[in-house]
Subunit: 398 residues, 2 copies
């Protein structure tokens, strides 16, 4: 007998994505002929702007070479123009292009924290922060927010109480995934002041910047003066241009020591994908009308989903941004319910796929009867999905 070849402790500890782990049940349901309305993943059905698609179609170089580790110059130049539209003035060295927002978060965590260090994140949070933290060996200290308060940031003394000598950063996501919460400017300024006072990084995941409803304005932490050394923005084109498969994101920071560490992390992996960056550069020319249309479409869906869930007696609030809603379900365990939906529930040949919310919390036990619903289907399909969902709740017994 030969000794066993073991997976690392880190490999064992890596969480299965609660958004993706139901995938085999989806495949079975579809194979059985069911129409599955997918509300589990933030994959919009919205068309990508033609500007972006032409970037691929018109690629006519004879060789597809490596680009610079920090991103191709033409895309960085376009990103400077993009941020300037929000009143954010950047230089080339403030931007590092990444392979999706995912890599932006991993690199940021690795550059600000060592194994055993802590970061504070309001929960529920984007579940893959768990995976990134496991990769980086970093511990998440959750700051709990609640459905009752529509997931607003709580009083900031609660945030400050979580800070320890091991704390290296506060991570925020606004508009929030999975909550849809948009943090008020004064709250962000309060968090920024705390970060500054304690010498912490403030990492803001702002990939849903364009998705803010009711005429409200999104606040970027890059707009807050005096935190140039603290502020790190994580960004991505995935949602902005409905281009999740392009895998183009970026890190923005005016802290040059941090950006230098990011450059060295990025040099190891050589470069982000070249043609996708060319397409992303083209997409910056997408006219405002595209975003106006998309926002009004999502706004209609948001109201539809909220109204239907309320009528079913499901606990939820109207979110101010992004395209997610946390729903508190009349079930004991949303994990079991989500699996049951795919395995057993059929209503006029349809069922619904949802993301159980427990994986979006770090505090054990929280979110067990909650799910994240992404309103990424057109209103007609969303109505049908809600018909099926309502029938499911009527039928389900746990």
């Amino acid at each position: 007998m030969f000794p066993a070849v073991l997976v690392s402790r880190r490999g064992v500890a890596m969480p299965a994505s609660p958004i993706r782990k139901l995938h085999p049940l989806l495949v079975s349901a579809q194979a059985s002929g069911a129409k599955v309305f997918r509300l589990n993943i933030g994959q919009p059905d919205i068309k990508s702007p033609p500007e972006l698609l032409r970037g691929y179609q018109e690629f006519c170089d004879e060789v597809l070479p490596y680009g610079p580790s920090q991103g191709i110059p033409e895309y960085i130049a376009k990103l400077i123009i993009y941020y300037a539209r929000f009143g954010i003035e950047l230089e080339e060295r403030d931007i590092f292009v990444t392979t999706g927002g995912s890599e932006a978060i991993i690199f940021s965590l690795m550059a600000v924290a060592d194994p055993g260090d802590q970061v504070i994140i309001p929960e529920p949070f984007y579940t893959n922060y768990n995976g990134f933290s496991t990769m980086a060996g970093v511990e998440i200290k959750p700051l709990t927010t609640t459905l009752e308060e529509n997931f607003a940031l709580p009083a900031l003394d609660r945030l400050e109480a979580l800070i320890s000598p091991k704390t290296k950063a506060i991570v925020l996501c606004s508009p929030g995934n999975p909550t849809g919460a948009v943090f008020a400017r004064e709250k962000l300024e309060g968090v920024a002041e705390i970060a500054k006072r304690h010498g912490l990084y403030l990492i803001a995941d702002e990939v849903y910047r364009e998705f803010v409803y009711d005429g409200e304005k999104h606040t970027s932490i890059l707009e807050i003066p005096g935190i140039e050394k603290n502020a790190i923005v994580v960004d991505s084109i995935s949602k902005r241009y409905s281009a999740c498969g392009a895998r183009v994101g970026c890190i923005v920071s005016r802290n040059q020591e941090f950006m230098d560490a990011v450059l060295r992390l990025g040099q190891a992996r050589l470069c982000p994908p070249t043609v996708d960056q060319i397409a992303a550069a083209r997409a910056v020319d997408t006219p405002q009308s595209y975003f106006d249309d998309v926002l009004s479409e999502y706004d209609a869906r948001r109201h539809l989903l909220y109204r239907r869930l309320k009528n079913m007696g499901v606990g939820c609030k109207l979110p101010g941004g992004a395209f997610y809603m946390i729903a508190r379900l009349p079930v004991k365990n949303a994990d079991d319910f989500a699996a049951w939906l795919l395995r057993e529930h059929r209503y006029q040949g349809t069922t619904v796929m949802i993301a159980p919310a427990e994986g979006f919390y770090a505090t054990p036990g929280l979110g067990r009867n909650e799910a994240r619903l992404a309103y990424v289907l057109c209103c007609e399909d969303l109505e049908k999905a809600m018909d099926s969902f309502e029938a499911a709740l009527d039928t389900y017994r746990d």
Copy 2:
């Protein structure tokens, strides 16, 4: 005064890529009007196959969505066909598509080793293994190979002597970057036997599989029977199809426990780029004549570079694979010489960029007077580059 916001120890420890750190001097040299022959980076000038390029040009979906974390099914199906051509029979679950070979190495290291663990790698090795190891917190124990022996694997008792309780894997790259060495099948079998006996993973970076000269046959570790639990292959399309900017690689292993950990690592980053995978799937149809032409072109360059360097009295051996050569230079410090080439040397308006080799070694002091030369220019340019290089060696005094 506010407390300083510090970069992590890991961020500080990340090495600057010795292949890329001279980039600012390149920019200055080019700005001054010099023609710089770039032998520093494995960026082939070879045309990408039209099959691959059409994958981008013919993309006509209206939405660019996330793909599955393990890669799009059509590309995985094509990879099964690709490996079958080498007599390697795979199932879908044995393949995980990554964002370039870089991600394949990072995920593999993370899944097999924890911070503080060790991996054994023959040196000189692909310098970015240093960066990946720093990210993963893993220590590299080098097994030194020498120019005198054309970087062949040494007697395997020297390998076995490096194994400690912390050792988790042996990492090989054949054909080798930066050496061009192709490891003999019997040596690979010997290494496999050691890995098996000690319960270690054997990770083989086989991205240069197609680049083996003199009619020799490449041996994949996937062909060696009895090491299904140990064997992990890291692969990439970058060199195969001259498509470094596509960022499409893969991990191949029949160890399902390991592959499950890789899947969970991959779920966190969602998916590799979608259109690039479509292009990579098309590229698998590239006819054999493309590879024959490319190999004969590289073979001519290989002989040219070897002949010119030998005539200059530079220490080197004719490599059996890949498109790199380690050159022992008549200088004290190849780092200084490489910088001087860009800063000061001009011969008929030209200069040469090389990669100092010290960063390819883990043993301190080794490789200080060596450089890696990539023969990625056409013969005409390579002759001119060597004229400039010869003039440089005549002039340089350290």
